[in-house]
Symmetry: C2
């Protein structure tokens, strides 16, 4: 996906070290919140020297951030290949997108459940929302040309946060309803809200 000629490709040792650390980190995060994960135990579990950790990451939060960034990059691709159009008639509509997005989170469930859970990282949530913003607002304005940009943004934030909220709930144990039900509900709420938010303007 990147430029492959000048991509020196990371040293094989580096890749191994990083994945060892990331796997150990994931394990630990399922057991305790980030703030009580210690570099020492992380390295012990990964079988990596403590000094090596600091060769790649500033601290535990830096590691977390780098893992989030990787996820967000994947999400970017998903956003580029799918129209975000959820503002549409129920039949066609953004059902495709909604499903794609729910699918993405289901595929990366382990990490996403952690990042979106109670001990999760709001910066990750904010990252998701900001990434989808421009495209969504533009599509909304195209669909409802009389709406103002400010209104479109306000509406977007409301919907985006609501969407994330449902996602988060559906990653919990136990979820209030199966994945599909939640996605469908989200889809419906968004479309109804969009229509009337724009119309009553």
């Amino acid at each position: 996906m990147e430029n492959r000629t000048p991509a020196p490709r990371e040293d094989q040792r580096v890749r191994l070290t990083k994945t060892l650390l990331q796997n150990a980190f994931l394990e630990l995060l399922t057991e305790k919140p980030v703030q009580s994960v210690t570099v020492k135990e992380l390295c012990q579990r990964a079988g990596v020297n403590r000094g090596t950790f600091y060769l790649h990451y500033k601290d535990v939060y830096d590691l977390l951030e780098k893992m989030e960034d990787a996820l967000l990059r994947d999400l970017d691709e998903l956003l580029q290949s799918n129209p975000v159009i959820v503002y549409n008639t129920p039949e066609e509509a953004g059902a495709g997108f909604t499903n794609a997005i729910f699918g993405f989170f289901e595929k990366n469930r382990e990490m996403c459940a952690i990042l979106l859970g109670d001990n999760g990282d709001k910066k990750f949530v904010a990252g998701i929302i900001e990434r989808a913003k421009e495209k969504s607002v533009r599509e909304y304005l195209a669909f409802y040309p009389t709406a103002s940009r400010q209104d479109a943004e306000i509406f977007y934030y409301f919907i985006a946060w609501g969407f994330i909220g449902l996602l988060q709930q559906s990653l919990q144990n136990p979820p209030p309803a199966p994945f599909g039900t939640m996605a469908a509900a989200a889809q419906r709420i968004i479309m109804e809200a969009a229509r009337f938010f724009a119309v009553t303007d």
Copy 2:
């Protein structure tokens, strides 16, 4: 609100120490994320012995949690004295509630901006949402008796997160729109969505 007879009232020194620490903490939180606030600098800034800190709090996160709890208790009172009814006709409606809630966050702006910001605490958000849940769902079901409880919950989560999202945006610098505008928008979205979410069931 509690039993007032056996409330021994905290020692004056304790109260002083705690407010000193909390104020210093707030200062620090405007400068850096929680995870890089050190107990040492916190105590230096507060002019309190480091040992004294540990007399009252387990660590920095414990202090944060206690401050959140205080806020959530205030919020509880607000919830009890206002009907959450946002599912209603535009005129009467929960405009009162919406304004009350936006007002609450504006009054505690400093702390809330931190807790809801990017370096904020998702547990705080979850706390808010869980506290308002039962009452909201019950009111929703009363208003739309044909809806199922599951639907009501799904709808609630979507709306609650959307609401919080808007709140958070309006606490940012600069907010996308003035407080009043956001509150009104939230109000409108919720009512339209509620009506059609329930009806098309």
